[in-house]
Structure formats: C-alpha cells, structure tokens
Subunit: 346 residues, 2 copies
DNA sequence: CTGAAAGCGCTTACAG
DNA sequence: CTGAAAGCGCTTACAG
C-alpha cells in the first residue's frame, strides 16, 4: 500500500450533496463569521451532514483562497539552547488556541542564515513572524516591516522602535543581583557579559553599570568583559581573564547562565571555590539551575509567559486590533541559591 | 498599513509573461523532475526571468494541486522535557534538507489528546508523521497505518511490528550500568523504573532483569519499583519507597535521568549520601547531567541522531523507497561520572 | 517541445 | 437567504 498522507477525506462538495445545498452554503454555515447569513433550518441540516460525514476543512485550500495560511514563522537561534523550549511552548500553546500553527526555523545565531530561513517561510506564506534572533541593528527586520509583515520580537529586540517586543527587564534583575552581593559584603564585583551586538548583551551591561553606581560600588574596567558568543566555553574564557586581571575579585555577575557555568569552571581551575572564594550569578534561570553544583543564583523571568505574550501580541496584530509597537518588559526576580555567599575575609 | 503576510509576491504567470512563454512551461522549467522536457534555450530564458523577478513557488498553491504538503507532523509529549529538543532538532534539520517542514504537536503525555492533535494535523494535510508518543498498545497508530499514512516512531514504539521505529538499545546500556556497579562491588541494586505502558519503561525493566541475571546478582522484588509518570517528583517518591523497603541497598539504577534526580532527593532526605552511601544511575544522559550535584552517571545515546534517523526513514518512505518496517536500535553507552562509587564498607 | 485546459478545495463578491 | 461563477497559484494529462 502506497503512503497517502494524513488529510481530510471529505470535501465541502460532498457535505453539500449530502445536505442538498450548494457548497457555498456549506462554507457559510461552517464559518462562524458568515453563519448568521444562513437560515437556521438549513444551518441545522448542514451541520448535521458535516458532523455525520466527519467533515474537516482543508486548510491548504482555504489558505490559497483567503491568502492567509493561519501559520506563523518562528525564528530562533537553536531549540537545543535551554532558554528556548519554554518560550517556544508558550508561543505554540497561544497560537494553537487561535487555530494558528507555527513553523519553526533555526538560525544558529548566524545572521546570514536569516534570509534563507525567511525565504522558506515566505514560500509557505506565513501570516506573521516571531523572531528571537534580532540584532541590535537589524536591517532585515526593518525590511520586513517595510513590506508590511506583522512581526514581534521576543527575548531580544532591535533598536527600531517600530517593532513590538517582549523582553526581560534587565535593570530590575541586575539591580537585585548587585544589591544581593553588596549586602553580602562584596565590593570587587566583576561582570562577564554577552555580545554587545544583541540587545540582551547591551541591556545587561548597561544595567550592570547603572546598578553598580546605584549601590555606590566601583566600576573598574578591568573587571568588565564580554563573551564573543553565549556558551559555557566562552564563559570560561572570560572568567579566566577576569580572575587573572583581578585576582582579588570576589564575585562575578554574568549575562547568562551558560556564561555563569563557564565561570564555575574558571573559578575551579584557578584553584578557588564558588561560593566560598568567588560568588557567581547567572541570568535567565534556565531549567535545572537548582541542580547545578553549586545551585546557581540567577535572575529569573517567566520564559513560557514571554513566548505566550509575544504570540498574543502577534495575534492581536493579525486580527487588526493593534497597530502600535508595544515594548513589553517582563518582570525579573533574583532567585538566590548557593552560588553566592559572603566574600572571604581578607 | 495593514499587515500583509510574508508570501511570494511574484507568480508563475508573471514569470511566464516576462519570459514570453506559457505558465506551464515555467512550471516545467522550474521543477527538476520535468526540466528535461524543456528546450535548453527556453529553459535558460525562463530561469533568467525567474531569477530576475525573484520568483519563489507558492507552496500552498502547489500543495493543493499535488495533494502533497511537504509537511510532516511531529507528535511529542512536551518540548520542555529536556530529552526532546535534540530529537526535534535532528528531525527538523533532516526534513529541512529535503524541503520538508515539520508541524509540531504536543500531547503532554495524555493519550486522549492524540486524536485532537491528529485532527489538526490532518486539516493541514501532513504527508507523514513522526511520533514520540507511542503507547505499547496503540490503536491510534494502527488506525493510521490502516489509513495508509506514513508513520515512524521515535524513542518509544508500540508492539505493532508494522510500524518503523528508532529507539535506544536498552539492553546494552542497562547491562553496562549493572556491570559498572557490579565491578564497584555493589550487590543490593535497586531499580526505579518508568511506567510500563510505554515501551521505554518496559524495555528498560526487562533489560535490568536480564542484566542482573547475566551478572549473577539477586533480583529482589522489593528492590524494583516503577514511577507513575516520568518526573523528578515521581522519582523521589519511588526512591523513598525503595530505600524504606531495603535500607541496605547500595545502588539505584533508573530508567530516566529525571527519576535519577528524584532519587538524589530521596537519598538526601534519608540522610544518606550519593555516591558514598548510595550510587545512582540515570538513563538518556540529558543535557547538563555533567553539571548536576553529583555529576550523574547515565546511559547515553545520541538524541540528535535519533531524530535525524527517524526523519530519514520517513523521507525514504515518502519517496516510496522503503516499504518495510525497520526497527532501528541506536547504540547506548554508559557515561561514568560521580554519582557512582564503591558501596560503603559494611 | 509547448500550449491550452482542467482542476486541486475552498471562499466570496454578485445576482436573484 | 441561496446559488452560480470566478479565482487563489499552481501542475499535469492531453493535444498538437
């Protein structure tokens, strides 16, 4: 037996024949928007036939006719990055409720792949886009906007104020992190950041600087460094560098949990202990941080909600209910675990 | 400006006009399968026009006509379960190369949701299915088979030998785990398993029993227990029960890393230490197990490859190149970390 | 080798 | 309120 595809087997035509009406009438009866224009007896008959024959609309045919695919493209760096599964799940659950389906595309953090991915999504005729891959300056996104495509940014955002976004409040989380360290008695606090070409990297270092000033601590440039990419390996490299430049530092605040994990390695390699000698703080509070050795103190935000919010914003846009470009910032909180402790006594 | 959707803006018709040929000719020229039947000069002209106008095929229109969507449904319990991101990525990368796109649907481990998810996939006209949600007895899957739909099972499989599958070799991994413990000197080895209605649960307990016999160790029924669902909480519950029933046990082999994590909790609650008092072994080797406290000894297999293999099998099937029902078992290896050690001296 | 026609399964202006 | 027609953008037998 040849394979056949999983598809609706009964057409509108067949329901129409069964109910003794014209296909157009069936179409009207089945669509909530137009249902009102069909006589209630006819309606009942059509509905009965549809149910009896187990009619299901062929989305492809409908899409071709309506020029709407009920499909949304989702651009993310990589689903294997533990930040994204919850965001994606939040997006998909929300889209699902509105009968939309998402088409996921991965860029692996390479800006040059975005265009290729977008081309594929274009061929599929997505109605809108949720992008977690925004660069700070992102001409591709601006071109999309130009084209009139509905797009919402999630997690990161570009500088264009015309594109809606849902991001985590860096300022709040960072300030809480620094306050926490200050209260423990830390003064020589270092910062291991994410690349500055991306809004999260930019926002978090700015927040770190502002936070340090707010608490009245010294901002030494030798205690600030950025990774080239967000990974454990890069975190370790930067961690080593910071520890070498200032062996007296007692805490490292990072822009990401993976970077924090790398700092764990750097601290250990230096023959020092976290948290006894050096405290480390992460950002994102990814799954299982509480299981790490030591359990990681990290800035938390609700990733599922981030995805859900972005999807809801896009849906509103697609429904024509929203034309502004809201910039939602999700609340961040510091989750204190065991990677932070008072500095060693001098 | 109203939103417009990201879709191809130039049609076959426009390319035809530009090249001075009939749309059918453009279609033939652009499709590798039929390209041979067009004159090389015409071909060149059409290709030039297509490139110049940046033509992209409208997949929706093509799908309606060909009755193939170039789309595959992927049924998984939950992308937030750390086992799945790599599998999904393996699937999507492989499908992508063949110009297929995947539509992901979540069941949250609830069999009753499968039908609803399948209905939605049906409306979208998926060409085939990759399911990570197989029950041991799975009438839904058999019905799909009956219908002639191409389906491949991944990670789990049903008892039907008619459906292809890609799973992890439980026997090999389990034997390696038990040998490792036996070599360390363990004798009272307990087992914390996964639900038996699912093939992974079934296969792993069978493998555990066979492994224990192979090594000549006693299989005490009070040292064997299954979770109701695969989660840290259930792992803790079963772990507690095992420790209570046999306080002398010195090792717990589990069917899953999350269960193993729960056993960590149970061991700790009992005032004992892993690995000094009780060794614990996981299964799946999910991401970041090496960062746990203690780093988890676990049975490893290549999850990305599992997904990639399943997708490749489905593609072959869809291409009509394969009509059997291969059951691929991926190699498993034991990754020894710090959650296993010799048993305490009596 | 190329064109003209039909049709995939819908929806929606347009008549009546 | 319902029907008949057109058409979304393709592909593919069928002629020539």
């Amino acid at each position: 037996m040849p394979t056949s595809g999983l598809m609706p087997r009964v057409t509108l035509r067949e329901v129409a024949d069964h109910a003794g009406v014209h296909p157009a009438t069936v179409s009207r009866a089945l669509n909530p928007e137009t249902q009102a224009m069909v006589n209630s007896e006819t309606l009942a008959r059509v509905l009965a036939s549809a149910r009896e024959l187990k009619y299901q609309t062929n989305t492809i045919a409908r899409s071709l006719r309506t020029q709407r695919s009920l499909t949304v493209g989702v651009l993310i760096p990589d689903i294997m990055n533990p930040l994204f599964p919850s965001i994606v799940r939040g997006i998909e659950d929300t889209l699902d409720k509105a009968d939309y389906t998402s088409l996921i595309a991965y860029t692996d953090g390479r800006a040059d792949r975005v265009t290729a991915r977008l081309d594929r999504l274009r061929q599929r005729g997505v109605d809108g886009l949720i992008v977690a891959t925004a660069q700070l300056r992102d001409p591709t996104l601006e071109a999309l906007l130009e084209e009139g495509v509905a797009v919402v940014q999630v997690n990161r955002r570009s500088t264009s104020r015309l594109i809606p976004s849902v991001t985590a409040d860096a300022a709040g989380g960072m300030l809480a992190a620094i306050r926490h360290l200050a209260e423990l008695g830390h003064e020589r606090i270092a910062y291991a950041g994410a690349p500055l070409r991306v809004s999260t990297g930019r926002a978090r270092i700015d927040a770190f600087r502002r936070g340090m000033r707010a608490v009245g601590l010294e901002l030494a440039s030798e205690r600030i460094e950025q990774t080239e990419s967000v990974s454990v390996g890069e975190g370790a490299r930067v961690g080593r560098e910071l520890l070498e430049r200032d062996p007296q530092l007692t805490a490292i605040v990072t822009a990401n949990d993976l970077i924090a994990l790398g700092c764990y390695d750097a601290v250990r390699e230096a023959g020092r202990d976290c948290p006894a000698d050096v405290s480390v703080i992460g950002f994102n509070d990814m799954p299982f941080t509480d299981r790490f050795d030591p359990p990681l103190t990290s800035v938390h935000f609700d990733q599922y909600e981030m995805g859900a919010t972005a999807a809801a914003m896009l849906l509103r846009r697609l429904a024509g209910e929203e034309s502004g470009a809201p910039r939602v910032e999700l609340e961040t909180t510091l989750v204190v675990r065991a990677s932070t402790a008072p500095p060693p006594r001098a």
